[in-house]
Subunit: 341 residues, 2 copies
């Protein structure tokens, strides 16, 4: 057993036990090959015996930088966000970086708190996969000199690169597909209609339908980004009297809620109503009926975000740019020819 140590172990304790200076211990622990092998072994042994864990705050402070990336997401419960986070994390770990994630639950208040926290932690890079925006967010972020990536919001700047999905194209693919089957009464089921980036998707839907399928009737509804948000929105939609041949959901997660409601009501999908999602989360393939949706390559996005935040020679060309993702239509079981044409 070790002697006294009311506070947690310091580098000094290891140094003393290995009979070297703290500088040497530090070098060993940081793998600065310059330490004699025998010394290194002694230090390692001492650290091991003391079960020593360096204080990472002190480390960051002394180094003036660290290898931690921050990621802000609106709703980790939605697998879409999780997948991006997970991909980013894998990429980061593969290159010796850590990532800390903050969930905003679509509250800009929380977003502001979280971004301040991350700046306070002096993260080496920051990714914001969020829809809610706030004056104070931009304020906080404005003259932080850390590399950043925003998904779906904001505009490129020196240290900010944007990745956005081409909703216009995705919508076009879905609407064209539905029109080719004869759908003419379509509802768009979104969420959080007050958030600008999401509003944009709604507008995109309306424009797209008008452009591609001018004769079609449309209707808009919304709920929270959750399974039951989808269910409730579907309930309200049908209660409103609109009788859609197809419901286009803003994402798969909510679509699953929609499916549930329709099933409860004895409405068959796709025979009575077709349903589409967006994102192509894993669940889309596992729900019943499996969802027709638009694929967004979350793995790729996560990896890409990392490459942008921590650029190597060949990836830094993206920095400060805007990157457009082109969603692919994935047809499964939830869509078909409308009953009464």
């Amino acid at each position: 057993m070790v002697g006294k140590q009311s506070q947690s172990l310091k580098l000094e304790a290891v140094a003393k036990r290995a009979r070297v200076s703290t500088a040497t211990v530090s070098r060993v622990l940081n793998n600065l090959d310059m330490v004699k092998v025998s010394t290194k072994a002694r230090v390692l042994k001492a650290a091991e015996e003391l079960n020593y864990h360096p204080n990472l705050h002190a480390r960051s402070l002394a180094r003036g930088k660290n290898r931690t990336l921050g990621i802000l997401v609106s709703n980790m419960e939605n697998p879409f966000f999780f997948d991006i986070y997970h991909a980013l994390e894998s990429a980061a770990h593969a290159r010796g970086y850590e990532v800390v994630v903050a969930n905003t639950d679509y509250h800009s208040e929380q977003l502001v708190k979280s971004v301040r926290l991350m700046i306070g932690w002096r993260v080496a890079g920051l990714a914001a996969i969020v829809s809610e925006m706030d004056q104070r967010f931009w304020q906080a972020v404005s003259d932080a000199k850390i590399p950043m990536v925003f998904y779906d919001v904001g505009t490129p700047q020196k240290n900010i690169t944007n990745v956005r999905v081409d909703y216009r194209k995705g919508m076009r693919k879905i609407v064209e597909y539905l029109r080719s089957m004869g759908h003419n009464r379509m509802a768009f089921l979104g969420h959080h209609s007050t958030l600008e980036p999401i509003n944009e998707r709604r507008k995109t839907f309306l424009e797209t339908v008008k452009r591609i399928s001018p004769g079609a009737q449309v209707k808009i509804c919304a709920g929270s980004d959750a399974l039951d948000g989808g269910r409730e929105a579907a309930r309200e939609l049908l209660a409103s009297g609109f009788d859609p041949t197809a419901i286009l959901c803003v994402n798969d997660f909510m679509a699953v809620g929609v499916l549930r409601y329709l099933r409860d009501q004895g409405i068959r999908v796709p025979e009575d109503i077709s349903v589409t999602g967006f994102d192509n989360i894993r669940l889309a393939e596992f729900c019943s009926p499996a969802l027709t949706t638009a694929h967004i390559p979350r793995e790729k996005i996560g990896q890409m975000i990392f490459d942008i935040l921590v650029p190597e020679k060949n990836t830094e060309r993206f920095v400060g740019q805007e990157i457009l993702i082109d969603p692919e239509l994935v047809v499964r079981e939830s869509t078909g020819v409308p009953r009464s044409r």
Copy 2:
């Protein structure tokens, strides 16, 4: 615009601008009411104008402690883990704490890395909701003096409290329920059979069936803790020739994968085979058919973990104890009377 500041802003910059000492700025920023109101206002204004964000590493270092909790989970993709994390986070935020989460993906290697990281960050408390265990994990954790909570693993100690669910009881409820309907060929579908805590659940299943429904045939199978893990496991189970009247899944998440496979095969649930889950995640209610399962109060657990890690007078009685959660049976659509009795 602010003058030069190649490095990020320091307390000193704010102090200079407000024409006070750094000590005063610090006091203002920490709300140590002792600063004259007018001074405070001046400091706040300066900080605001400079868009200053305190370096949290320096803060933690100087304070010698911080208000961050760490949480380790095996698989954030499984909503069960997410829910606990989320509840813990909410409780934490409500009391001014932060939480950082680490995903181990069931790899003990990653678990060890993560726990070291958290110790390095000197978290104020640590929750481990993981199944994979490792000698080195205990080693790292052993003489850390931080409060800890383990879910389903380990044994109580001075600074370690345990919360575990009473699988025996949960299993009993499920098996009794199925037996009462006449099921006599039951399969247990688990995951990661090499992990001890999970192995235990399997054993519990076998014992329970033997005890409660001695005549029943049983079979064990397993896949990864994921939607497709459930699907694959179901595939293998049926391919093995065993013809179950009911499949008892280790959790809801995998059960959804099982449902998917059965549907693909044209096997009706519950008419041909009954399926049960465990956890009662939100998705259990939204899949098709809705899952019969055992409810585990994840909100309550998350809150409880916080209360234990950051005890107040009335909650500290739990510290160092073992807390047993009693799962409630929730009957939905995925179970019924077996076809051929």
